[in-house]
């Protein structure tokens, strides 16, 4: 059977691709589109390494068919830095070394951004709940949580 034609927008850029019905969004991002910043961990929606936003909402790209992107706005880690300038979360993760191997980091950053958009002043518990869908086997989460809290504080200060 012929492949399915999909018109979508990824990180603000209109984009078209052909895919099989069974292909996940993650397959297409990492394969034909070459957007390998989004990582594959478990492939079953447990680890959050493949986190993206779809029309602004946080999702696992492994749990979404690529054909479902038709007409949607997809946001990946490649769109997080603006014009070469890192997002405050990315900058803070570097400064505070809130990563070790880095495989979970793109997903953590996408999740953390989504969390701070909804809740600019989260408690530590809210950060931990908000990031509960992102598994990290290296850091023990402490540095990640502290980096998100610190970024939130700086972003609030900058917005005053």
């Amino acid at each position: 059977m012929a492949k399915i034609h999909v018109s979508t927008t990824i990180n603000g850029e209109p984009l078209e691709y052909l895919c099989d019905a069974s292909a996940s969004m993650l397959d297409i991002l990492r394969g034909p589109l070459g957007l390998t910043g989004t990582k594959e961990g478990c492939g079953t929606g447990d680890c959050g390494a493949c986190s993206v936003t779809v029309d602004g909402r946080l999702m696992c790209s492994c749990l979404m068919l690529a054909v479902e992107a038709e007409g949607k706005q997809i946001g990946t880690i490649e769109g997080m830095a603006q014009g070469g300038e890192l997002h405050p979360l990315q900058q803070k993760f570097l400064e505070m070394a809130a990563l070790q191997c880095g495989i979970c980091t793109p997903g953590v950053l996408i999740s953390a951004r989504s969390l701070l958009e909804k809740n600019p002043d989260p408690t530590e518990e809210e950060v931990r709940f908000g990031l509960a869908g992102n598994l990290c086997r290296c850091t023990g989460y402490d540095k990640i949580v502290r980096a998100v809290m610190e970024t939130a504080a700086e972003m609030r200060e900058a917005a005053r």
Partner: protein, 289 residues
């Protein structure tokens, strides 16, 4: 893998026709948090995937007045959580739906999918049973309605006939002084499958329970409506004796399995403990309504 067809019909009629025409070789896609995992594991290999999210009735949240709601079966938990009034009328249902998976999963997972996955441990199901929600079903022979508790037939099995699609859930009017709550027992704080899940829906007047429903999950092949527990609560002021009697009824209703998540004895004991805790939360909330 054989080629899979993807259909995204814009109307319920088209979806029902396509589903019936596929005669068992099709799977319904709502959030896909179960389906895509099962396909990946090779457990399910549908010839056709029917995405129901382009059908208005499947994604609508309708406020019917007096606390009554109709919600589309494919509405994701995150969307329901953002609704300005649903969670005020049905906090127990909302907290149960929002317990399914992570924030990422909440962006996709729906109560219809949770019900149709047929797990006895689905979190939203006991809460919808306690709420007295009615399921609207559409099939090749027309539409029908079933109470939520009548839909599951056993682990992974439903009382739906071939070609039938779960369309929406209707939650009844909310008398003043009504509220609900859901708790589940899991060995961790988040991201786990219920060892026991229990929901209580109460109406109260002057501190006296005037109506009650109790939904109990993960302790039998299907989620249970525990009528005896509700009967023990009605007419009481939730005194210890009434709560103990209702807890007894919950323990008596248990018919669990021993597995890695919990033993029969443990699940049975926890069912009674949860009844008391959940009733207290529902009563406190009802007092505020």
């Amino acid at each position: 893998m054989t080629e899979i067809r993807y259909l995204a019909p814009g109307s319920l009629d088209e979806a029902v026709k396509a589903f019936a025409a596929a005669s068992g070789a099709a799977s319904i896609l709502a959030g896909g948090t179960d389906l895509l995992v099962q396909m990946r594991a090779g457990v399910r290999q549908p010839g056709t995937i029917i995405d129901i999210k382009k059908i208005p009735a499947l994604t609508a949240i309708e406020e019917l007045g007096g606390g009554a709601f109709r919600i589309g079966a494919a509405v994701p938990g995150a969307v329901l959580a953002e609704h300005p009034t649903f969670g005020k009328a049905w906090p127990g249902v909302l907290e149960a739906i929002n317990l399914i998976g992570s924030k990422q999963v909440q962006g996709r997972a729906s109560p219809g999918g949770n019900l149709c996955n047929g797990s006895p441990a689905g979190d939203s199901v006991p809460a919808m049973v306690a709420a007295g929600a009615v399921v609207t079903i559409q099939g090749p022979n027309g539409g029908r309605e079933l109470p939520v508790e009548a839909v599951p037939a056993g682990p992974g099995r439903l009382n739906l006939t071939p070609g039938e699609i779960v369309v929406s859930f209707t939650f009844p009017d909310r008398p003043k002084g009504s509220s609900d709550a859901y708790l589940r027992m899991i060995p961790r704080t988040e991201m786990d499958i219920a060892v026991v899940g229990l929901a209580v829906n109460l109406s109260m007047d002057g501190g006296v329970v005037t109506a009650a429903r109790v939904g109990l999950g993960a302790v039998a092949p299907t989620v249970l409506l525990v009528g005896d527990a509700a009967a023990a609560l009605v007419g009481s002021r939730l005194e210890d004796a009434a709560l103990e009697k209702a807890a007894d009824a919950c323990r008596a209703a248990c018919n669990p399995i021993n597995d890695k998540r919990g033993t029969i004895a443990y699940r049975t004991k926890v069912a009674g403990v949860l009844l008391k805790r959940v009733a207290a939360i529902a009563a406190q909330r009802a007092g505020g309504n």
